[in-house]
């Protein structure tokens, strides 16, 4: 541009060929201001003061105008007034033009009446006959030379003045255009940068003349889908600004807090740290996207929480409380990212944080999965139209995570129960075979479905959870299996334990089947193991061998195995006293008592039953430390008892 030809717009100031002579100027001053005689300092001061006052007044007026500008109603009034003025001017101009036209037409009607008639107004035609006005060239008397000179000087001055004004206007317009071009260039460059980053830039549907960027999620619920579009406005200097409308520009996120034993033990952190208004446009868009995602997440969480109120989930205006498992409670709320979360630092535990972070990620992944499912549902052939609107099902966000937590807690409980019981048995010198645990046995199956691998992976998480425990017991060919089902997405809700036994010795022993309470499960397993211990004692092969050799030795016979009672059958002759053993197995200990009973089948109680000389019950407990005074094993004790 610089090298191109430039055209000066302002007229070149030219030197006056003949400067005004002093007498002329003096005459002018005399004319304008009066005689020099009357000029003194006071007059001049007054004059200056007057002029300043006038300027000041104008300024005041201008500032008043500025203030009025701010007032919108007055501004509107002013606008109307100005418009009326403009119309008035236009009308006047129109009228004058019409007069001129009439005049010229009347004048011409002398020469060309037919032609001039067409442009005459009806009124003029009525009032003045055609050709009633004529014009002739009149030769004016020659003007004196000084007058013509004056006229030419004045017209020249006028022309120069007008040229200058026009040049100023043009230059102003040029500079205005220049800044405008610069800011437009900046704006479009930034828009292009946004587009190059992969954001969808399009025209706004409501405001067709402005650009918008789409950052939301198409598959979200309509409210949030429509929020995912913000217009890209141009600031005065061309900088790009994101206009999200009425939505507060604050970044928010769904915070997950974990309460363990009534104390806060973990809290999730925002994914992206917020910034304070000075981020790049990319950051602003990302933040807007995150916020709309988090808002939708919380909205869906609340919707789901209401649907699963039967699990004890309570919702308040901005808080969801979920009792997850025994001592674990989860709080979900929507908070600003810059909110101070460093409260109660003392009770934060690594485990609590990992639960909170894990849960925070889980619900977000599940919402993304729900979006994909929405797309899948939306692109299916639509169902027939009915008058009823189909309700939108709640997304599964809390339920799978809650099922997982509940399931894990049940599995841990069962593991600790089995460990305790097997520990008790081990401390009594019995060697129970190990059991196998398959936790989340459903998740392993892979079926080929057309959905992408990611969806299959998440989809498996939504199926009911299953863990199985299988184990053998001391009884040959005996076994037990426990399957833990947890299902929160379809009835029956909650966790069920499916316990089944296989005891060849007691074929009429029925498996308890589906149980839903821990106490029942504990009782069932303890009972099974008690039967197992009783059977082991009664069928102890070493004892049998010994008693084959030594008739004084007797074998124990399980008389009421379900009560853990055994009896030594004595020969008929000795019909008096018998020895009875009672075994009690619990989670914490195995105890054994020997009684002497009189009746034949050993059923007698009360008077008939007397504690034997060994009235103290013998107990085995798993000791945390393998202490040196190790008690004799159960089998040793039993064989000792049977001998005496």
């Amino acid at each position: 541009m610089a090298e191109s030809f430039t055209l000066p717009l302002r007229s070149i100031p030219e030197k006056r060929d003949r400067p005004d002579t002093l007498p002329v100027e003096i005459a002018q001053i005399n004319n304008q201001w009066g005689s020099f005689r009357e000029v003194n300092e006071d007059v001049l001061r007054n004059k200056i003061a007057e002029e300043e006052e006038k300027d000041g007044l104008e300024e005041v007026e201008e500032s008043d105008q500025d203030a009025a500008d701010l007032d919108s109603t007055e501004r509107l009034e002013q606008l109307y007034k100005r418009r009326a003025e403009i119309t008035q001017f236009a009308m006047q101009a129109h009228m004058e033009t019409m007069f001129a036209l009439d005049f010229v037409s009347l004048l011409l009607s002398k020469q060309a009446p037919r032609q001039a008639e067409t442009s005459m107004s009806a009124f003029l035609k009525q009032v003045a006959p055609l050709g009633s006005l004529n014009a002739e060239v009149v030769h004016p008397p020659p003007k004196p030379e000084s007058t013509t000179k004056d006229v030419s000087a004045v017209s020249r001055g006028w022309r120069i003045q007008n040229f200058n004004a026009a040049a100023n206007k043009l230059l102003q317009a040029a500079s205005r255009l220049e800044t405008e071009v610069a800011s437009e260039t900046r704006y479009w460059n930034e828009v292009l940068a946004v587009k190059d980053k992969g954001w969808k830039v399009s025209r706004l549907p409501i405001e067709r003349q402005s650009l918008g960027v789409q950052y939301g999620f198409i598959e979200a619920a309509p409210v949030f889908r429509d929020r995912g579009l913000a217009s890209l406005r141009r600031a005065e200097d061309g900088a790009l600004s994101l206009d999200e409308g009425l939505i507060p520009p604050k970044a928010r996120f769904v915070r997950v807090r974990v309460i363990q034993d009534g104390r806060l033990s973990g809290s999730s952190k925002p994914m992206r740290s917020s910034f304070n208004g000075d981020g790049t446009i990319e950051d602003r868009i990302l933040q807007a996207r995150d916020t709309v995602y988090e808002d939708e997440l919380f909205h869906e969480l609340v919707r789901e929480a209401r649907a699963i109120a039967s699990f004890g989930v309570t919702t308040r205006q901005n808080l969801i409380q979920i009792p997850a498992s025994d001592n674990l409670e989860i709080l979900l709320d929507l908070v600003d990212t810059d909110e101070d979360t460093s409260e109660h630092e003392h009770s934060i535990s690594q485990q609590g944080i990992s639960i909170a972070e894990g849960l925070a990620h889980t619900i977000r992944i599940l919402l993304a999965y729900a979006h994909r499912q929405n797309l899948r549902r939306r692109t299916q052939l639509p169902l027939p139209l009915t008058p009823k609107t189909r309700p939108v099902p709640e997304h599964q966000l809390i339920r799978p995570a809650l099922a997982y937590i509940k399931h894990m807690s049940q599995v841990r409980w069962l593991q600790s129960l089995l460990e305790d019981l097997f520990g008790v048995l081990k401390s009594a010198g019995l060697e129970p075979p190990a059991y196998t645990a398959r936790i989340f046995s459903t998740g392993m199956q892979s079926h080929s479905s057309p959905a992408p691998a990611v969806e299959n992976l998440v989809g498996q998480f939504l199926t009911p959870l299953l863990s199985t425990f299988n184990g053998k017991i001391l009884t040959p060919r005996g076994s037990f299996s426990i399957a833990i089902h947890t299902n929160l997405s379809s009835p029956p809700f909650g966790t069920t334990f499916e316990v089944s036994f296989n005891m060849p010795k007691y074929p009429d022993l029925e498996s308890p089947g589906k149980l839903s309470h821990r106490e029942e499960v504990e009782a069932a397993i303890t009972h099974l193991l008690l039967l197992d211990v009783v059977f082991t004692i009664s069928s102890d092969s070493s004892l049998k061998h010994e008693c084959d050799r030594d008739p004084a030795k007797r074998t124990w016979e399980a008389i009421y195995p379900q009560h853990g009672e055994l009896l030594i059958p004595t020969p008929k002759s000795n019909s008096g006293k018998r020895k009875k053993m009672k075994i009690v197995l619990s989670r914490h200990e195995l105890s054994l008592e020997i009684y002497t009973v009189r009746c034949i089948d050993g059923t007698g109680r009360g008077n008939w039953e007397m504690p034997s000389y060994h009235s103290m019950p013998h107990t085995w407990k798993p000791s945390p430390i393998a202490g040196p005074p190790k008690p004799p094993s159960l089998m040793d004790f039993v064989s000792k008892m049977s001998r005496s």
Partner: protein, 269 residues
């Protein structure tokens, strides 16, 4: 159920552009569809019409209805089976070899190539009535019904219900869904070598050998809504309004309009 639809003709040069426009409008990728369509014609089984035996316990109304059923109009119906692109020009599966002996001996079998198994082809019976006459609304509205059929050979079952196999063709197109509206941009393909067969083909020729029914290769755009209860004026109105909305949206691209009623006549003369 009722089907309300609007049609438009799409010349082949506009096809690609329209696909893009529709993908943008519906915010989804087009779902490519290939469908085998078998046409069956109903016939009166000899001795069935007019004879109403053992009708003592039938009420008068039932009798009339039965008469109407037996002596009413006969219709053509379609049996539609979705196929995939790899089914075309493929061989029958090996394990069907023995059963299909004599069907196509000349073709060498190749175990690695994808195979088309006619015996496992799913089918759907689709009935369409002649569009309703004298409706004031500017959409084509017709009674329709569809039912899933057992997989495999349908001719026998259809014969038992009183339908002859007439001919078959293939429809190729793309499906879009916009809320309640399904938009199907499709064209009809014929099998090469005419319709000498009196039974549905057990194997499909290569897709590129299929001939276009409409020589210019132009497509038909059908936008339709299925209404559960055609007697409910409210829903019928909603459906046609949705269709009009779509017509407005697509106005600059294609002109959706009502189809000629008689050209969609499915009655068997």
């Amino acid at each position: 159920m009722h089907e309300q639809s609007l049609f438009a003709s799409v010349p082949v040069h506009q096809h690609h552009e329209l696909l893009q426009q529709l993908a943008g409008l519906t915010a989804m990728q087009p779902r490519h569809c290939l469908e085998r369509r078998l046409i069956f014609k109903a016939y009166r089984k000899p001795g069935m019409a007019g004879r109403i035996g053992a009708s003592q316990d039938l009420q008068q109304g039932d009798l009339q209805r039965l008469n109407k059923m037996l002596n009413g109009n006969m219709y053509y119906t379609q049996v539609v089976g979705p196929v995939s692109e790899s089914d075309f020009g493929s061989t029958a599966p090996i394990d069907r070899d023995t059963q299909m002996a004599g069907m196509d001996d000349s073709k060498p079998y190749d175990s690695s190539s994808p195979s088309y198994d006619y015996e496992r082809q799913p089918w759907k019976l689709e009935f369409r009535d002649i569009p309703e006459a004298g409706t004031r609304s500017a959409v084509t509205s017709r009674l329709m019904s569809s039912a899933t059929l057992p997989r495999g050979d349908v001719v026998e079952a259809m014969n038992a219900w009183g339908y002859h196999f007439i001919t078959e063709y293939v429809v190729e197109g793309d499906m879009f869904v916009l809320n309640d509206i399904a938009i199907f941009l499709h064209r009809v393909l014929h099998y090469p070598g005419g319709d000498e067969s009196s039974l549905p083909r057990r194997q499909l020729p290569a897709l590129k050998d299929m001939t276009l029914f409409e020589k210019s290769g132009s497509y038909v755009l059908q936008a339709f809504i299925i209404v559960q209860d055609g007697s409910n004026q409210e829903t019928m109105k909603t459906a046609s309004q949705h269709l009009f909305g779509l017509r407005e949206q697509l106005k600059s691209a294609v002109l959706l309009e009502q189809a000629d009623r008689l050209s969609l006549d499915t009655r068997a003369k």
